[in-house]
Amino acid sequence: MNSALFVTILVTAIVMVGAALLIAWLLAPRSFNPQKGEAYECGIPTRGTSWMQFKAGYYLFAILYLMFDVETVFLFPWAVILREVGAAGLISIAVFMVILVLGLVYAWKKGALEWK
């Protein structure tokens, strides 16, 4: 039932965007002007393409994000049964957390968290 509802909502979202685009396409004016096709850049013509090499800093943060997000995924099932597993579960997850925090400390010391 939930999966059917999931599909229903997904279809609703797609229909909404499609219908709004269709209404706009029917109502909106269309005019042609070569100036309109230019990318917005404060009045001067844009130079070259924007699909080029990019700052590596974003990549570093994405990698760090991946590490901690996977950690969160592992912690969710543990958090649900935390009451049943008690202190034993706490100690075993503490070992896991310490290893991950060491990773964060390493990245911090290496300067990966600085925006250069």
Binding site: F6, I9, T12, A13, A39, T46, F61, I81, W115
Partner: protein
């Protein structure tokens, strides 16, 4: 509390009495879709009006007050206007990705929206892993933002999209960890389970200090996640024009605007569900008369009221604090919020594991 599932099951039996099962289900799904769509649009129109009035109040001016009494039809007029604006496609864009991006943004926001518990028995999607599912689908919005910036092939949009991507993935960690704190104390990932666990007191009150810290972290990280408030780096007008949606015009831009305001409400709704008791009324143990009076207020009113208060707090942030720089933004998340939320989670898990909670 009145159980709204009485109404839905009455509709179901009524339809089943004279229709085959597949037709009943079809009609129900269409009804649910229309209801969600209507709620989504009405809330968006209301929030846009509300934000403009709140901004006006904070800046000692009136805000919209011409269209209708107190300007209440202003956002409807704006919606009609945005529909008749031309859709401009630039010369060098990637047409397919450019058109695809709004679908991602809207679908992510609407799927998260459908998970919110509106009242007792009023919830569309109710997975056992509810909050986890919310976290997962709201993450899809990042794809839409990155696609929008990349497909536009303009310097402003690419920089805006990269910044928005870095910001949204970073702050999702803090959101995940503060949700985890509440999952640890409630022992359930289902949205209904979390709300029902707060029958005798909201988690903000009975979760000791860690729940309070998690609530503050959630508010800060939530504001950052939806690219608002002091964290609107992605569309810093003074440096990036409009960030990742610079090249979108007409209703194309309207989709991003719509999703931004609905994400604001979703942020408020999740904060309400996790920390402020969802649709549960305010119960004070021992005060039976007071609790009985509070029970008369419908659950929908409780949920909407609390969510609007959280939304208002987020708007207060936006119009009070100056905007952060991108390096300060990432520093705030990785050097302050992330370590604090990890320590906070550790304290909470010790409290829960040793049974020191109520």
């Amino acid at each position: 509390m009145y159980d709204f599932s009485n109404i839905t099951s009455w509709i179901h039996t009524l339809l089943m009495s004279f229709l085959p099962e597949w037709a009943t289900l079809l009609i129900e799904f269409v009804l649910i879709g229309v209801a969600i769509l209507a709620l989504y649009c009405i809330l968006a129109l209301f929030l846009i009006y509300f934000e403009r009035r709140v901004a006006g109040a904070f800046q000692c001016r009136l805000g919209p007050n011409r269209v209708g009494p107190f300007g209440i039809f202003q956002s409807i007029a704006d919606m009609l206007k945005i529909l008749i604006k031309e859709l401009i496609y630039l010369k060098n864009i990637d047409h397919f990705l450019f058109n695809l991006a709004p679908f991602f943004v809207l679908a992510a926001s609407m799927l998260t929206f459908a998970c919110l518990p509106w009242g007792n028995g009023l919830q569309v999607i109710n997975y056992d892993v509810g909050v986890f599912f919310m976290l997962a689908v709201s993450g899809l919005g990042i794809i839409g933002v990155l696609l929008a910036g990349w497909a536009s092939n303009s310097k402003y949009t690419v920089i805006g999209a990269m910044r928005a991507g870095a910001q949204m993935i970073s702050y999702e960690l803090s959101i995940g960890l503060s949700i985890l704190t509440i999952v640890a104390i409630s022992g359930s990932m289902s949205v209904t389970g979390i709300v029902e666990a707060q029958y005798d007191g909201w988690f903000l009150f009975k979760g000791h200090i860690p729940a309070l810290i998690a609530f503050i972290i959630y508010l800060v990280a939530g504001s950052a996640e939806i690219n608002r408030g002091p964290f609107d780096m992605a569309e810093a007008e003074s440096e990036l024009t409009a960030g990742y949606h610079t090249e979108y015009s007409g209703i194309h831009f309207g989709f991003y605007y719509l999703a931004e305001y609905l994400n604001l409400f979703i942020m408020g709704g999740i904060a309400t569900t996790l920390f402020l008791g969802g649709w549960m009324p305010l119960h004070i143990p021992g005060w039976d008369g007071f609790n009985a009076i509070m029970d008369y207020i419908p659950s929908v009113v409780w949920f909407l009221g609390k969510s609007i208060v959280v939304v208002w707090i987020s708007m207060w942030f936006r119009w009070t604090f100056p905007r952060l720089r991108i390096d300060q933004l990432l520093k705030l998340e990785w050097k302050y919020l992330l370590p604090i939320s990890l320590v906070n989670l550790a304290i909470m898990s010790v409290i829960v594991a040793l049974g020191w909670h109520f």
